[in-house]
């Protein structure tokens, strides 16, 4: 699926009005990522402060991309990823982890759980764009 998505992305422009969900328990980080996404051209960016809220939002409406932190309470980003991939209706949603958890075991666990890309904090706009491009295609 993702492979085909990438192929499609190479030849078709991404719909920049697609909703993107940013999940982080720190308002500052939510604001930073949202601003970066808006700078990159994404028009519809929504925010959630933890995994539970994000899951509720994802069940209510569909998102073209989810960008989530790992370390959150009560539901972590990793648990959110597992739940998203276990749900038939949500499992195809592209998911990028943005986290300070930089151990190799974390990266491997996230990959096994089905993450599409992994960004280590601190990061910059170029890295974010590069990873989104790797997942969705050029924009």
């Amino acid at each position: 699926m993702l492979g085909s998505l990438r192929k499609v992305g190479r030849y078709m422009a991404i719909d920049m009005s697609m909703p993107v969900l940013v999940v982080d328990d720190y308002k500052t980080m939510l604001r930073i990522i949202s601003n970066l996404l808006k700078q990159l051209g994404f028009e519809n960016v929504e925010e959630a402060s933890d995994g539970t809220e994000a899951l509720d939002k994802m069940k209510k409406s569909s998102y073209g991309l989810v960008i989530s932190d790992w370390n959150m309470e009560p539901m972590t980003g990793y648990e959110l990823l597992l739940k998203v991939r276990a749900d038939d209706g949500l499992k195809r949603t592209p998911f990028i982890m943005v986290t300070a958890e930089s151990k190799t075991e974390n990266v491997i666990a996230a990959k096994k759980a089905g993450v599409n890309n992994y960004i280590v904090k601190p990061f910059n706009a170029a890295t974010l764009k590069q990873k989104i491009t790797a997942v969705l295609g050029d924009f």
């Binding site: 308002k27 500052t28 604001r31 930073i32 601003n35 790992w70 370390n71 972590t76 990793y78 648990e79 300070a100 958890e101 930089s102 151990k103 190799t104 075991e105 974390n106 990266v107 491997i108 666990a109 990959k111 096994k112 890309n117 992994y118 960004i119 280590v120 904090k121 990061f123 890295t127 790797a134």
Partner: protein, 323 residues
């Protein structure tokens, strides 16, 4: 021992038994044994009394040591000022940390507000007045500078917290040393610890990310099956020595010196040894040889290397030819 009570000695006109009913012969026989037994009992009692007295003394000494130990521990704990730590220092440290979080958050939001405001500026908003535009931008930049002052205050707060932690560490360490306390074997993880372990919540690493973004990208690019631990992926050192190999068994045995023949090892284990004889010089022509002989007879030291032969021969060849 029960004896018949009615028997009295016959010489007294009785039945041959003592008035208390004991047989005198038996009494005479048993008396020394009883006396011996009593003496032994008394000795044993004396011994036990001494033992118990010693035991009491030792126990009292131990109790006095324990009492001293407890008194010292109490003194150490008093010096630790636990109430001061629990009621004063730790709450202060916690408040400082909360203040740090609050200050940094406020500063970040201020900076972001200013940045957003500047991003929203347009020259049209100021009626095309570039001066007004610059003034507005400068105001926002000044706000950013002011907000950055949080760093100084945060640094001071952090150093206060670090000092508190150092004091606690020092006092607890001193108490542990005084009491001779050693770390116990770690017990089972608490529910929170288990959750953190299961969900891989390690937190940010000190000194930057443990795995760099480039390494993560490489893992995503190459596929996770090909990712190997660092040690396994390192090439072996090129200068690693090769193990000693046996010479092939079909080689003819190497001729040995006679002096070595006596105690020589089995031939199959012999390795070819480097020759100690200098390499043979290639045969030169007759005239060349002559010239070299002449150079040897010369008083100066001249090398016999081949490169030197030609010029020397030329110099000497003239008298040779005239002769």
């Amino acid at each position: 021992m029960a004896l018949p009570a009615s028997k009295t000695p016959e010489s007294q006109g009785g039945t041959g038994y003592a008035p208390d009913g004991f047989d005198p012969a038996m009494v005479g026989e048993l008396e020394p044994k009883l006396i011996n037994l009593m003496q032994q009992s008394e000795a044993l009692v004396a011994l036990m009394r001494g033992f118990f007295q010693q035991l009491d003394k030792r126990r009292s000494e131990e109790f006095s040591i324990i009492a001293g130990y407890i008194a010292k521990a109490k003194e150490e704990i008093r010096e630790m000022r636990p109430h001061d730590i629990s009621q004063e220092r730790i709450p202060t440290a916690g408040a400082e940390l909360e203040a740090i979080t609050r200050d940094t958050e406020n500063a970040t939001h201020t900076i972001m507000n200013c940045a957003e405001a500047m991003m929203g500026f347009s020259i049209d908003q100021f009626g095309g007045d570039a001066g007004a535009y610059k003034t507005a931008v400068d105001d926002e930049v000044m706000k950013i500078f002011e907000a950055c002052s949080f760093q100084d205050i945060t640094g001071q707060r952090v150093s206060k917290v670090v000092n508190v932690l150092k004091q606690i560490e020092e006092r607890v360490g001193r108490l542990a040393n005084t009491l001779g306390v050693e770390d116990s074997v770690p017990q089972e993880m608490t529910a929170e610890e288990k959750r953190r372990h299961d969900l891989l919540l390690n937190g940010p690493a000190i000194g930057g990310p443990e795995t760099k973004q480039d390494a993560i990208d490489a893992m995503f690019d190459t596929g996770f099956d090909e990712v190997q631990p660092y040690e396994a992926s390192v090439n072996p050192t090129p200068w690693r020595l090769k193990p000693l190999q046996r010479p092939p068994s079909n080689l003819p045995p190497r001729p040995l010196n006679r002096s070595l023949r006596r105690n020589r090892p089995p031939r199959r284990w012999l390795l070819p040894l480097p020759s100690l004889r200098p390499p043979r010089r290639p045969r030169l022509r007759r005239r060349k040889r002559k010239a070299i002989r002449r150079t040897i007879s010369m008083p100066c030291s001249i090398s016999l290397r081949k490169t030197w032969v030609k010029p020397i021969r030329r110099t000497i060849s003239t008298p040779c030819s005239t002769r």
